[in-house]
């Protein structure tokens, strides 16, 4: 019996102590009519050796491509130390630190994480994580509605430069509570949200404005102007940021005159592997004034009976296990292990290391765009400054080109034509610090081969 330690002797003694004749008898409260005795769809057990071989074969099937897709998930170098420590049993096999005294390691780590995220975003307080970047935006929207007591409209402005999938997730999660998410258009010439696009809401009661930085199209927004416009209209500002970019870019807490009110986003770039899309983690920080409206766990530093410092979960009265139907969110299990990894990652890299990773990604993406734009039929979509993603325009539909590249084991980018038809044959490309000059050159070669072949065909 894999993973079950009971000997025959144990079983007999235990049944005797219970006063039951068999294990099956323990299920006698289940109505006979409902009992099943087999699980036909489940295969026979296999051992660790067999499953290892199986999984190695499956993994091998998906290996070996050079990846230039970003679009919300970024390939970065993850130091070996990060996961060797994160998967230590004491982190990996523990759960929510309900017994603070027996979980000081986890709690102190979260406190350190909160400190790092607060500083990175320029805000006061961070929670201990949400599910992912997309759902964090939904939580931020719900939080903004609670936090902005002066606004009654429950209207939240969402620019088209926010990741389209984030927009969809936000509506799916937060869309049933009478909030109206209103789309703000972007400038096809710059790939950003112009102030003019907000004129439609001039003078209205707006609860919050979402500002992505960078936008999904890679371009950097004029966050100061947008922030100030929002505040002038009594709206809170929800910054949606790539945390790695904040090693270089002005943090949300310093946007405009007063700074953003809530910052959130996807934490994956901070030491979390691509891993088919998850587990990642959503982060969220805010000003102290709004802390009681934050969803998620928060760890605080306090003292023990002897006056010694220690860490504990705090402000739990916001949460579902205390406040139930009136909680700030239903979140319970979060993405703690990813926070462990991110905290170790940030500690290893520090501000300077993070800035170097960010700058290298920025420079590589520029070089990639330069290299690809030498291929006939390929052009930059925007001249706007960008962080580490940019949009290229092709002279023909993107999908077959990407397919052709995949045959060369190059995953060439993200096809924008469904979400942004007004951009034409556009694709989003990304080259992080993991890409070498030779990688970029091979992409260039493959692209020109593919474009030539497609022409012929």
């Amino acid at each position: 019996m894999a993973f079950i330690p009971h000997t025959q002797g144990d079983i007999s003694e235990m049944l005797a102590a219970i006063g039951a004749a068999s294990i099956n008898e323990l299920f006698d409260e289940i109505p006979e009519s409902l009992r099943v005795d087999d699980l036909p769809g489940i295969p026979e057990a296999i051992g660790e050796m067999e499953i290892t071989r199986l999984m190695q074969a499956r993994a091998a099937q998906d290996r070996g491509a050079l990846c230039f897709i970003g679009a919300g998930a970024y390939e970065h170098h993850v130091p070996a130390a990060v996961w060797e420590i994160t998967t230590r049993g004491e982190y990996y096999s523990a759960y929510t630190p309900y017994q603070a005294e027996a979980s000081q390691g986890t709690l102190q780590l979260i406190y350190e994480y909160q400190s790092m995220m607060a500083s990175l975003t320029g805000l006061d307080v961070s929670n201990a994580s949400l599910y992912d970047g997309a759902s964090a935006v939904a939580e931020a929207a719900l939080m903004a509605v609670r936090a902005n007591r002066r606004s009654k409209s429950r209207r939240i402005l969402v620019p088209r430069t926010l990741s389209p999938v984030y927009t969809r997730v936000t509506s799916a999660i937060a869309g049933t509570q009478g909030i109206s998410f209103e789309r703000v258009d972007f400038d096809v010439a710059t790939g950003t949200t112009p102030l003019a696009a907000l004129s439609e809401w001039e003078g209205e009661d707006i609860t919050a404005l979402v500002i992505p930085q960078p936008g999904f199209l890679g371009c950097l927004e004029d966050v100061d102007a947008l922030t100030d416009w929002a505040h002038a209209h009594g709206a809170l500002v929800i910054a949606v940021v790539n945390p790695l970019s904040l090693a270089l870019l002005r943090p949300p807490g310093e946007w405009g005159q007063a700074g953003a009110d809530i910052a959130c986003g996807e934490g994956q770039p901070l030491g979390v592997p691509l891993s088919s899309g998850g587990p990642y983690f959503g982060f969220m920080t805010t000003r102290m004034a709004h802390v009681r409206q934050m969803p998620g766990r928060i760890v605080g530093r306090t003292e023990d009976l002897d006056g010694k410092p220690g860490f504990t979960l705090t402000l739990q009265a916001r949460e579902q296990h205390i406040r139930r139907s009136k909680a700030t969110s239903n979140i319970c299990t979060n993405q703690g292990l990813m926070v462990t990894a991110a905290t170790i990652y940030m500690s290893l890299l520090g501000a300077e290391g993070l800035a170097r990773v960010a700058a290298a990604s920025h420079a590589n993406t520029r070089q990639l765009a330069d290299a690809l734009c030498t291929v006939p039929g390929v052009d930059r979509a925007f001249a706007t400054p960008c962080f580490h993603e940019t949009v290229l325009k092709l002279d023909r539909p993107v999908a077959p080109v990407l397919k052709g590249l995949a045959e060369h084991d190059i995953l060439g980018g993200f096809d924008l034509s469904a979400d942004y038809p007004e951009l034409g044959h556009a694709m989003l490309v990304c080259a992080t610090e993991t890409k070498t000059a030779e990688d970029i050159a091979s992409y260039g070669r493959a692209l020109s081969t593919v474009l030539k072949q497609l022409k012929v065909a």
Partner: protein
């Protein structure tokens, strides 16, 4: 042992140099966009970071080091292979938007996982995307809502929830724009049927139940409840946090549930890293199939692909940027394959055996069971209300005292309806010796509670810190270190 904050190890100019590019590339960005001062991240060497976080790890209780009978959380052994295999190159570095041509290995695992979960639950289709139990609940209630709306039943906005339910149930109902109607639990731990009959009506959207319930007993009248709710036009939601207890014994689909979430991170053990990640895959009956959250994996002519909004136009949509916690799902897949069908049945059998043994022995030792007339499921409740009344020793005191014996405490004060309660879930992977050791500790604590009450109430004594001041934590809020807050 205590360990300073990582910030206290910082010295300006340090970082793990092998981990970053050896130059800082030039930026092609206007200065106005750039940050003016560097963030306060730690400045330590690789050794310092490794040492700090290794030392911190040792300040934790965990399954790999301690018996951890945290009720409702199913803290069982996480086979190491699950972690190792989910982190194989090819899986761990696969981009979520990689084309199907570069995803067949991964997709096949996900497809087979969907199929296995269908068969375990008796549901008709499964979507893996919810990222924890609570998000599975959200998906479920959103589907119920979508179903009623699709039929024009816009007024159905009440969700029935037993008072013993986990906090995520009512919180989820609210998040979905529903109002919560609480149902009392009867003296035997079952739902009060009379109250239920009164509560249902034309506004009933559905009911959220877990079975076995959070009071640790199997809801015997489940068929009756299903009939009542269905007759009123409502749907049944199954909170699958406790599915561990009935694997291969009875299936939610057969009990009449229309939708279910499964806390795969509990049932199909995987590392929870001190509080997640999780997975709350959802299963649905025929009626809710069109509303499932996307994406879902389909198999077509031996190839696998994602179904999206084009395939499921009535879907409640996406709940995450990609497809949910893929890595957790891979671990669950590996675990399920290692269990096989017999292994799954044994999970339920031995989880139940362990719980009933522990309950019987503790009862014999004088502890008061909350539902003494009932079989324990995989977990059970003891109440310390007599001890609290007679000696002022609370469930919290007993919980803290247990830590000194090297046992993580059971869940305390949940469910709220049982005063001074401990919800105890030993899980199937613990040995009889581990349970016996725990029983001895409980008896010793009980004896000390009488003999030396004050001493006991001072516990724990052997941990890195003594009992922490939660009130101070909330009042003098210190939730982030700042350079100026340094001692």
């Amino acid at each position: 042992m205590t360990e300073p904050l990582i910030f206290e190890h910082s010295r300006a100019g340090r970082y793990a140099r092998a981990q970053a590019p050896n130059v800082r590339a030039e930026l092609d960005l206007p200065p106005s966009l750039l940050r003016k001062s560097a963030p306060n991240l730690p400045e330590v060497s690789e050794l310092q970071a490794v040492r700090h976080y290794t030392r911190l790890s040792q300040l934790n209780f965990s399954i790999d080091t301690h018996f951890y009978p945290l009720g409702s959380c199913t803290m069982k052994y996480n086979p190491r292979a699950c972690n190792k295999l989910a982190m194989l190159p090819g899986l761990v570095d696969r981009h979520p938007l990689a084309p199907a041509s570069h995803s067949q290995g991964f997709l096949q695992c996900m497809f087979e996982l969907q199929e296995m979960l269908k068969s375990v639950t008796g549901m008709k289709a499964v979507s893996l995307t919810p990222m924890a139990g609570a998000q599975g609940e959200l998906a479920g209630v959103l589907m119920i809502r979508a179903y009623h709306h699709a039929r024009g039943d816009h007024h159905r906005n009440e969700i029935l929830v037993p008072d013993a339910a986990h906090g995520t149930n009512p919180a989820t109902a609210t998040m979905c724009g529903m109002s919560v109607v609480e149902l009392p639990t009867d003296a035997d731990g079952d739902v009060d049927i009379a109250a239920l009959e009164k509560a249902v009506g034309p506004n009933t959207a559905g009911i959220m139940l877990t079975n076995p319930s959070t009071v640790g007993v199997f809801e015997r009248k489940i068929e009756r409840i299903a009939k009542i709710v269905h007759a009123a036009g409502g749907l049944l939601y199954y909170d699958g946090a406790n599915l561990n207890a009935i694997l291969g014994k009875v299936r939610p689909g057969d009990m009449g549930f229309d939708v279910i979430h499964m806390n795969l991170h509990k049932i199909f053990a995987r590392g929870r890293g001190g509080r997640g990640p999780g997975s709350g895959a959802v299963g649905v009956g025929e009626r809710l199939k069109p509303f499932m959250p996307i994406p879902v994996v389909a198999q077509e002519e031996g190839k696998y692909r994602w179904l999206d909004e084009r395939d499921l136009p009535q879907s409640i949509g996406r709940l995450s940027a990609f497809m949910g916690n893929a890595g957790v799902l891979l671990r669950a897949y590996v675990y399920m394959r290692m269990l096989g069908h017999d292994g799954m049945k044994r999970v339920a059998e031995f989880a139940t055996l362990n719980a009933n043994y522990l309950a019987a022995r503790l009862k014999a030792a004088g502890f008061q069971l909350a539902y003494p007339g009932r079989r324990a499921s995989h977990e059970f409740i003891i109440t310390l209300k007599r001890l609290a009344r007679d000696r002022g020793v609370t469930a919290m005191d007993v919980a803290k005292a247990l830590l000194d014996y090297g046992y993580h405490a059971p869940t305390t004060y949940f469910p709220l309806l049982v005063p001074e309660c401990l919800l105890i879930e030993p899980t199937e992977t613990e040995s009889k010796e581990a349970l016996d050791g725990f029983i001895d500790a409980m008896c010793d604590i009980m004896e000390r509670a009488v003999r030396d009450t004050e001493q006991l109430k001072g516990a724990p004594y052997t941990l890195p810190v003594r009992r922490l001041d939660d009130v101070r934590a909330a009042r003098k809020l210190d939730v982030a270190w700042r350079p100026d807050s340094a001692a």
